[in-house]
Structures are given as C-alpha cells and as structure tokens.
Symmetry: C2
Subunit: 137 residues, 2 copies
DNA sequence: ATATAAATTTTGAATGATTCTAATTTTGTG
DNA sequence: CACAAAATTAGAATCATTCAAAATTTATAT
C-alpha cells in the first residue's frame, strides 16, 4: 500500500483526508475519471465532500505535476494519475478514455521557440474495440 | 473568391445562407474561433441568427470532414477550417489558439489495432510569445 | 493547553457553454 | 401553388465549472 500522505508532503501539499482520498482514488482507478465520477465514488467515504474540493484539489495536483488532465472534444475533464509520456484514445460511443502507447518522442519542445509549453496531449478519437464489435453485430 | 456553395454541395450539404456565411467566416478567420466569436461576428450580417444554428452547423461540418474542432483543457470549443494535418498551441493567458508545425512522424493509425480512429489532435498548452514578454516586463 | 491566524473545506448561488424542445420559417418537389 | 421535409429560431433546461462568503479544520506562538 502506497503512502499517499508522503507523496503529497514531498510536493509541499498538506495531506488532508480529502486530498489523500482523491489521490488514492486516481491511483487505483486508472480509467481517467471525471470530477463527477470521483465525487460519486468518494461521497460514501467522505459524506461531507463537496465538488468544489475536487475541482480545487485536481487543479492543485495538476499544477504540482502529480496528475494530468486530458482534454477532449466533448469538453468534459478527465484526469490521469499516470504522468509518464503516453497518449489517449477517447471512444465516441462509450465515452471511455483509453491509454495508448504512442511515443511522440522528445523532439516537440525543441521545435517551437518562443512558446512556453506546460503540457501537451495527443488525443485520438473514434470507436474502441468493444464498441466496434457491437456495431458490426 | 471561393464558391462556398459548391464546397457545401460537394459534401451533400444544402447551402443555406447561414451555412455559407459560417463556412466563409471560418475560411477567412483562421484564428480558430469559438461559437461565441462566430455568433457575434455574423449577427450583423444575419440579424436573425441563433447560436443553435452555429452549433448544428459546426457539428454537421465536422461530421462531413469540412472543418475540425480543437479540444483543449479549458473546455471551450475552437473550430478550424484547416483540416490538413497540423497541431495546435493554446495560450492559457490570452486564450488564443495558434497553429504549430509539429510533424507527428510515424503514421499513428498503423500502430493501434482494434481502434477505429476518426481524428487525432495534438494540443500543446502554455504561454505564447507575446504573453511571455508581457509577464517578464 | 489555548488563543489566534492561516489554510482548507463547504455551501449555495452564479456563470458560461452546450443541448433540448417545440414553434416558425424556408426550401424543395410534385 | 400546395404540401412535405428540412433548416432555423427562441427560450428553457442542463451540465460542468467557478465564485464568494461562511464554517470548519489545522498549524503556530504564547
């Protein structure tokens, strides 16, 4: 079992119950959950939890490089514990976000001068394996 | 002057005044406008215009491959007349979206089996040249 | 320990983008 | 020219997100 309290302290974040539970949830659930999914799942654990805390916490975690957010054309935020370089595929049918092992190489930052890049995301969209099968049947 | 009516007909879209003007606007304004910017700009031209028409039209154009939408972590839709492969940079300060000439190199589609890819987007986020200067001063 | 200040969480209202629904207008066809 | 189909419009509804202010919790100094 990971010591999320320590992970937070190492990033200069005071480890409140809410923050620890949100971080733990994101680590265990690598399905790129939305704010709403996090809220619904943690409400039984922390009955006083508010969505505002989740928004604040996710913003804080992102700023500290602890997690990353995944933009997509449906304009709903997904969050990822995995900050290692990898890409994402969003299924337009089931709405799930999958990890895709596409390596962009390091050469992106070097190409663009003048721009300060905080983050980059490669997002593929279309139909996932499962939904493809269902459509064909 | 381009024949937008013909461009629409070629894609089996009946060329209403609204659709022609929206397409023309996107062609002339390559600044990746939002729905609101399109609406505000075209309202003087088509006084009865409604935002719903713009949403419908952009969705239709996207589905027909006439334009593409640019996802970003601020969850606000930007639209691009240019459907040729290229990437985007969104400035978190001034909110503008810039074209970036990043070559993704290896063709992505071939790497991922089982997934049907309709579209892919590489979106970089951070601070643009101009905003960088302002911050430093 | 205890008072006080600072940080965090909570609540509910507000905002902003997008979607829904139903009515109206426009267009295409016989 | 009438009728059906398609497109547009208006306004309400929804959903994610943010704001502002109050309440709670935590940390600090006495």
């Amino acid at each position: 079992m990971k010591d999320y309290t320590k992970i937070l302290r190492d990033k200069d974040i005071s480890p409140s119950i809410q923050r620890v539970k949100i971080l733990e949830f994101l680590d265990i659930n690598r399905s790129h959950p939305t704010v709403d999914e996090i809220f619904t799942s943690l409400l039984p654990v922390i009955p006083t939890l508010s969505k505002m805390t989740i928004y604040n916490t996710l913003k804080l975690f992102s700023a500290k490089g602890l997690i990353r957010s995944i933009p997509n054309s449906e304009n709903i935020g997904h969050y990822d514990f995995n900050v290692e370089p990898h890409s994402h595929f969003k299924c337009r049918t089931c709405k799930r976000v999958f990890d895709i092992d596409v390596d962009l190489g390091v050469n992106i930052a070097s190409n663009i001068d003048g721009y300060k890049i905080d983050e980059y995301n490669l997002i593929l969209e279309g139909t996932c394996k499962e939904c493809n099968k269902k459509i064909k049947n």
